[in-house]
Amino acid sequence: MALSVKHLLDTVSLTADDITQILDTGRSFAEVNSRAIKKVPALRGRTIVNLFLEPSTRTRSSFELAEKRLSADSLNMGGSTSSVVKGESLADTIQTISAMNVDMFVCRASLAGTPHLIAENTDAVVINAGDGKHQHPTQAMLDLYTMREHFGHLNGLKVAIIGDLSHSRVAGSLVPALKTMGATPILVGPPTFQVSDPAYWGVEQTSDLDAVIPEVDVVYLLRVQLERMGGAVIPSKREYNRLFGVDERRRALMRPGSIICHPGPMNRGMEIMHEVADAPEAKVLDQVTAGVATRMAEMYLLLGGEGVAH
């Protein structure tokens, strides 16, 4: 049994079975990652290209580590060294790299739909490592993994997703994934950060953070990405922090046993205060750890599953 998808482009296409399989397999890789020798030969001889058209130290490191621990051979292509910025079309770049017989592309891009465009131009498997304001499915998987490890289940969880919702690929993939697994996301942010059609996702959206915090199991803080806004839609960091930042007062409103997640990197003093970021309920480092294991699982399942069709 393999995943129902050939590529990991978004979370909308994933079934509950797919997600469960990724999380279960991720657990096995978490065990591998806890060993002294954190490497297995599962993808020995496979070639994976990390095509990062938008800089990202964290996500790329996580993928690189996952690839090394699976014994895959990997090649990094970045925005500054890629010919993409020299006027070559993306399709040409992908066809050129594909001609070197690679097995997988891991792609990060600033433009929505780029991974889909890559998939159209190669026979290799494509993993979306974040495309513009659209989707970031591997982030959603590590988030779900972290929540499931803490609560033991996902069904019935209430998750407040707080911040710059309309520019967030993290929200874009986490919301459908949570819904597929039977959890209930609630979107919280200033109106200028809200998505224009929450009904499309079938979720509620509000600006009243204090009313939401006591109701939820997970307080998921989004990074406020000033570089992605295309215009100032909040007056200042200071005001955002007062209205939507999680400080000790808001932490005290949280339900017992509830947790805080953040995709990183955190803007301390903006969406989260220092003392809260280091509190035991903040699972930020658990998320990072889960990231390597779940990405190993995704690559293993996608590359292993490919052979079934042949």
Partner: protein
């Protein structure tokens, strides 16, 4: 030439009858039943429909400046293929068509092709920069049929007032591309469901509607005829309806893609041929626009024919060029979706695609009666075909309707009596 036994439809003269039509030289010589053939070449019109030559008053032919997308020769072939005797070309060329000389250039280039006529629309402001009036009078002398900064709106209300006041001394319409840049900035798909689903910056309906409101008030102030280009929302239509009810000289147009496609047609495959300016809107908007076309609130159908080279569309959606080609598919789409299913009458079709655009562009009317100029389109309402690369004549292939299976197409076209489209093939 004698076209025999053809259903001839022209609401201008109250005509809808199976008749024979004789063309002599550049003019219609005779319209009647059982005309004698004499020495004339015969064209059997059985089962076909003859209408006054179609006009598309909103196309982009890209010459000069962007000949790699389209030039006047290829654009004219596409127009002839689509059954159009006249097309009005938008001035966003390079350099911008903002002088009498550049208007004259396009007309002359069109004449050389000996097919569909090219009727240039001049820029309202120099370089379409929205800063200083272009030489409107000079362009009218050269043959400009209207004025527009199409491609973007005139952002300054004061500048737009000046433009409309100045144009009001001539008998021409100002054609407004209605878009408030500060609202639509960065937008690539309709704001709402599509922008949420696809994760891209939204283009709010208000960005169009607000500028239409402003321009209607400027029309009221200046008396200058206002033609609203490619309306795309139900509210835009309401605004135009209200202005007409007030007796203002306001008209508007709609494209086939805003009638027959919606934001929901853009899938996770990010089809760049569906990236439009204005963007594809909601299904409710499309329904309202069709109603507006049927009841006459929308004056005409235009294509906004916007050719782009492969490399400008074969890329990420957010950086792809806006627009679709449309000349070759406009009539077939309207026939397939509206006329043949009985939702739009042939009379309304003729008004929207032949009569109204001539009126708005101040062109001489063309009628199916003796003495009129022989600009005639013969439609085969039963021919079925697939929109594929072979069918297209444009230099570019960025059609939003590639692969569509359509029924009804232009079979023959006469421009001043010259038989330029013969059995669906450009002569």
């Amino acid at each position: 030439m004698l076209i025999r036994n053809v259903r001839s439809i022209d609401p201008q003269v109250g005509l809808d009858d199976v008749l024979d039509v004789r063309i002599v030289g550049k003019r219609i010589a005779e319209v009647g039943a059982g005309l004698s053939a004499g020495d004339d070449e015969m064209l059997d019109g059985t089962g076909k429909v003859l209408v006054p030559g179609l006009v598309d008053m909103h196309v982009h032919f890209r010459e000069p400046g962007f000949e790699y997308k389209e030039d006047i020769a290829s654009g004219v072939r596409a127009a002839t293929k689509g059954g159009f005797s006249d097309v009005a070309t938008m001035p966003n060329t390079d350099p911008v068509t903002d002088t009498g000389t550049s208007v004259r250039y396009q007309i002359d280039r069109g004449i050389e092709e000996k097919k569909t006529r090219v009727r240039p629309i001049g820029a309202l402001t120099r370089g379409e920069k929205g800063e200083a009036l272009a030489e409107i009078g000079d362009m009218i002398e050269a043959g400009a049929v209207g004025f527009s900064d199409d491609g973007h709106g005139v952002q300054s209300a004061g500048m737009m007032r000046t433009c409309m006041a100045y144009v009001s001394q001539f008998d021409r319409a100002v054609i407004a591309h209605s878009e408030v840049d500060s609202l639509t900035k960065n937008g690539v798909v309709n704001e709402g469901r599509a922008s949420t689903r696809l994760g891209m910056f939204g283009w709010p309906a208000l960005g169009e509607e607000l500028e239409i409101m402003r321009d209607i008030e400027l029309c009221r102030l200046t008396g200058c005829p206002l033609h609203v280009a490619h309306i795309s929302t139900a509210r835009s239509l309401e605004l135009v309806r209200a202005a007409k009810a007030d007796g203002l000289p306001v008209t508007c147009e709609v494209t086939p893609h805003h009638l027959f496609l919606t934001e929901d047609d853009i899938t996770d495959a990010y089809e760049t041929n569906l990236k439009m300016n204005p963007p594809l809107r909601t299904p409710d908007d499309a329904v309202a626009l069709i109603e507006g076309l049927v009841d006459g609130s929308i004056d005409c159908i235009v294509t906004d024919h916007a050719p782009h080279a492969k490399h400008e569309k074969d890329c990420e959606f957010e950086i792809a060029a806006f627009g679709t080609i449309g000349l070759e598919t406009s009539l077939p789409l309207v026939l397939t979706n509206l006329v043949l299913p009985g939702r739009l009458s042939w009379q309304r079709l003729v008004e929207a695609m032949a009569i109204s655009p001539r009126r708005i562009l101040r062109l001489d009317p063309v009628k199916i009666e003796a003495g009129s100029r022989a600009d005639l389109t013969l439609v085969d309402p039963r021919a079925t075909f697939t929109v594929d690369l072979d069918y297209l004549e444009s230099k570019s292939t960025n059609s939003a309707f590639l692969g569509a299976e359509l029924t009804g197409r232009p079979a023959d076209l006469f421009v001043s009596g010259r038989h330029v489209l013969v059995c669906g093939e450009v002569a």
